[in-house]
Amino acid sequence: MSNGDYETIVGLEIHAELSTKTKIFCSCPTEFGGEPNSHCCPVCMAMPGALPVLNEKVIEYAVKAGIAMNCEIAEISKNDRKNYFYPDLPKSYQISQYDMPLCKNGYVEIDTKEGKKKIGITRIHIEEDAGKLNHDEFGKKSFVDLNRAGVPLIEIVSEPDIRGAEEAEAYLKKVKAILEYIEVSDCKMQEGSFRADVNVSVRKKEDNKYGTRTEIKNMNSFRAIVNTISYEAQRQINVIENGGKIEQETLRWDELQGQTISMRDKEDAQDYRYFPEPDLGLIKITKEYVEKIKENLPELPESRKKRYISEYNLPEYDANIITSSKYLSNLFEGALAICKNPKSVSNWIMSDIIGALNEREIEPDKIPFSAKDLGDLIVLIDKGTISTSIAKKVLQKMFETSEKPDEIIKKYGLVQISDEDTIRKLAHKILEANPKSIIDYKSGKDHALGFLIGQAMKETKGKANPRLLDQIFKEELNK
């Protein structure tokens, strides 16, 4: 049997840190970084006698996420304790939600080769993040940093509706985009504020029963997740094809070796002894509350995409990519408001800006200039102040120094030369130096004109107005 006879089934549990100002059960700041244990208090350090108080913003953010992902919002839900020992978990239990989550039965729509597909969301629940262990370079000691302990998280659990790595990536990107749009999480993967546990199983296409799944925990890059799913699915197929059985287990992705590794040293089947958190009451949510949040929900990526296609005539592909990131989409809208040239803004984002992001390996949220700067740049082109090729250089400078486009142009003297006399003098100079080109042109070799314009551009470091150059060279040559 070949790989093609199998399908890969993926379920994802996404953990997204909520961007509330304070932690979930105390008023410590959620800000990333800071001296170890500087964003802590008796509550998040689990001092004896300290008690949690649920931050209402966490409920609001989680309900927003639930609505944006088409979930039912529970009128009554509760917190539960998940008990286990680990040094980064100060209370020895995590306050989470077990059998009564805040949101359930939702879906997210993704684009696949076969068209649109709904990925079911089983549930979204709120919980607290753990702290961090820093292991010292001398070997024997570990240090506990509780700055992250108590930062609010939502866990988004998908149905096993995802088939293969590509769909998994599309789903993750869509969820990330939604959370960014509704501004409940900044989804910074490098900082661990958006991460996922990945469940993978395979089955023969004709089977309707799921195969045994393995779980790979705590992954925080799209690339690693895609590689993991592909690798793990292939491994499972190989095991089955060789007559073996898949064991239900937790694996770890080894980035260097590019393979999943069994974590056999882990606890023998953890029993978390969930029970209702007695320090907190039930969470009650009224229909009016949900309605109010619904009314104030920002526009979601899907809706923006449709608008870009219908209002601005963007190709679906471009609209898809731009709206896949709130930052790109906001850049688009911000620049558009200045220059009123959707086609041009879209082209700049799709080619030069995404190219620069890839080249510099940075995420769209790290673009060092504003939407207004991009708009201004395009206005400068449209007004003929600079040429497109100069604009590309200006954009590179904007990435490097965050300076404003007009400042860059002034500083480096990049204003386009559009003065007719100056251009004509230049043309004379170039023609004098290249008599052979004149002969070529006159004998019908059109490339000679291109060569001459190129020489003029070289002479002016690209600043000469290309339209004017073309016109004047033709006039002179046809004299």
Binding site: P42, M45, A46, M47, P48, G49, A50, L51, P52, V53, L54, R81, N83, F85, P87, P90, K91, S92, Y93, V144, D271, R273, Y274, F275, P278, D279, L280, G281
Partner: protein, 477 residues
């Protein structure tokens, strides 16, 4: 009469009349502690700076605090080796409310409030001032004994299944377990979060009302505290019991209840009848399931609550551990005492998968039934009258090796915590060996005022304090 023998309201009267000053009071108590503490052993730590703190401006009547209530800058040990040197970085909410009061010391208890005799303290056994060979009860045994022995004017205890009322009964003092949610638990080292409540242990009912005034009230730091209108609990103490309907639940007078105790409580009922109350027998059918339910819920919560004592951030840490598992295992094995470990194991068991439904879930269902039964009873009765404890104080050493028998000491008190209700224990006489007997009044949620004026009516009539004094004898019977 020494100042330390007076009640708080008597002391306040003298202070108001400027007959004495606060330093006189502190001195009198310090003197008394010097005399009696070697015999009673009620304190885990004694404040050596009490007089200085008066000079620095404290104006409230001094107080003793059970050692599971966090006090900034003073050790809070929970009478456990685990927290032997632990100093809380913050004050419990009740301590903030009492910040004007000098703390005379932190009082002994069963380790992490688990016990009914204070024998499970990791540091010392507290002796009952009425007879030093007897236990003071528990877990707030240090608090009850210190108030009884006039070593503190009043004290705070905590009550999870009877830990204020039972020792108050054993030591002949007044102890109130408030309605769950009336007093903030913030800063009370948790034993069983859904049952724990801080309350006063005092020499008389008036002092109890005064102290309740000081500590009650909504606290935004405790999500289980309840927003209700603040009350002055001293205001209606004289109200009387005319027409008050008091139920006498049969189940509290059956097997296992000592005869002398039973008789004493029935006498109390008679007294109330004479004062104009209506006494009627009733049933609390869930009583028989209360103890099992209590131990399942309390241990389940404790097993989770005590997880934080892991040797990582504070408290006892075992030495020479090779890995994290060993660090946990050794620190907790060495840091916790037998009874605490017994309950952690029991609680872990009832929560584990496969047993959860049979134990914890079932216990929660019974809990709902207990609540409903009391609710129905209070549609009919104002209060219920029962013994506080099935026996008087027992001899030190007789039950500490028999956990089941020790658990039975809570039989009259645990239902009240399960239902979250308020209850008060009032001394009502001595048995033939001269040990105090206490009766318990149980009220509906937030009926503390009624409990207090009903208790006050009895106290005024019988005047236990004027009739009887602790003997500090030591006859092993």
């Amino acid at each position: 009469m020494e100042l330390c023998e007076l009640t708080v309201h008597e002391l306040e009267e003298k202070l108001n009349k400027k007959e004495i000053n606060l330093k006189d009071i502190v001195k009198s108590y310090e003197q008394r502690i010097r005399e009696k503490e070697p015999e009673v052993q009620a304190f885990v730590s004694i404040n050596e700076d009490a007089q200085k703190q008066v000079e620095q401006g404290k104006t409230g009547i001094p107080i003793g605090i059970k050692d599971n209530i966090c006090t900034k800058g003073i050790k809070t040990t929970c009478s456990s080796k685990m927290l032997e040197n632990f100093v809380s970085p913050y004050d419990a909410t009740v301590m903030e409310k009492l910040q004007n009061h000098v703390i005379l010391g932190k009082l002994n208890m069963d380790e992490f409030a688990m016990g009914a005799s204070t024998e499970y303290s990791a540091f010392k056994k507290t002796h009952n001032p009425w007879n030093l060979s007897k236990v003071p009860g528990g877990s707030s045994g240090g608090s009850a004994a210190a108030v009884s022995a006039d070593m503190v004017p009043w004290a705070l205890g905590s009550d999870t299944g009877g830990s204020i009322r039972q020792p108050s009964s054993f030591c002949g003092v007044v102890g109130l377990k408030p309605t769950y949610g009336l007093v903030s638990r913030y800063g009370l080292v948790a034993f069983a979060s859904s049952l724990d409540q801080i309350g006063p242990i005092t020499k008389d009912v008036t002092d109890c009302a005064i102290l309740l005034n000081k500590i009650a009230g909504y606290d935004e730091k405790d999500s289980t505290s309840i927003k209700i209108q603040p009350k002055d609990y001293t205001k209606n103490l004289q109200k009387g019991v005319k027409e008050l309907k008091i139920g006498i639940p049969k189940e509290y007078f059956g097997e296992g209840i000592n005869n002398e105790v039973r008789e004493a409580i029935l006498q109390v009922a008679k007294k109330y009848e004479q004062m104009g109350a209506i006494i009627e027998e009733c049933n609390v059918a869930t009583t028989n399931y209360a103890l099992a339910t209590y131990y399942i819920i309390a241990c389940a919560e404790a097993s989770s609550n005590l997880g934080r004592f892991d040797g990582i951030r504070y408290g006892y840490r075992a030495e020479h551990c090779n890995n994290i598992k060993e660090l946990y295992r050794n620190s907790r094995s060495e840091g916790f005492g037998q009874e605490v470990k017994r309950r952690i194991i029991l609680g872990t068991y009832v929560l584990s998968s496969g047993y959860y439904d049979a134990y914890y879930k079932k216990a929660q269902k019974v809990r709902t039934q207990v609540k409903q039964e009391f609710k129905r009873l209070f549609e009919k009765y104002d209060l219920l009258l029962t013994p506080t404890s099935p026996t008087v104080a027992f001899n030190i050493g007789t039950k500490s090796n028999n956990p089941l028998e020790m658990y039975l000491a809570d039989i009259c008190t645990v239902s009240i915590n399960i239902a979250g209700l308020p209850a008060i224990s009032i001394p009502c006489g001595l048995d033939k060996d001269g040990m105090p007997i206490g009766f318990q009044l149980i009220g509906n949620s937030f009926s503390e005022e009624k409990l207090l004026y009903t208790a006050y009516a009895y106290e005024k009539e019988e005047n236990f304090r004027e009739k009887y004094k602790p003997q500090f004898k030591n006859d092993k019977t």
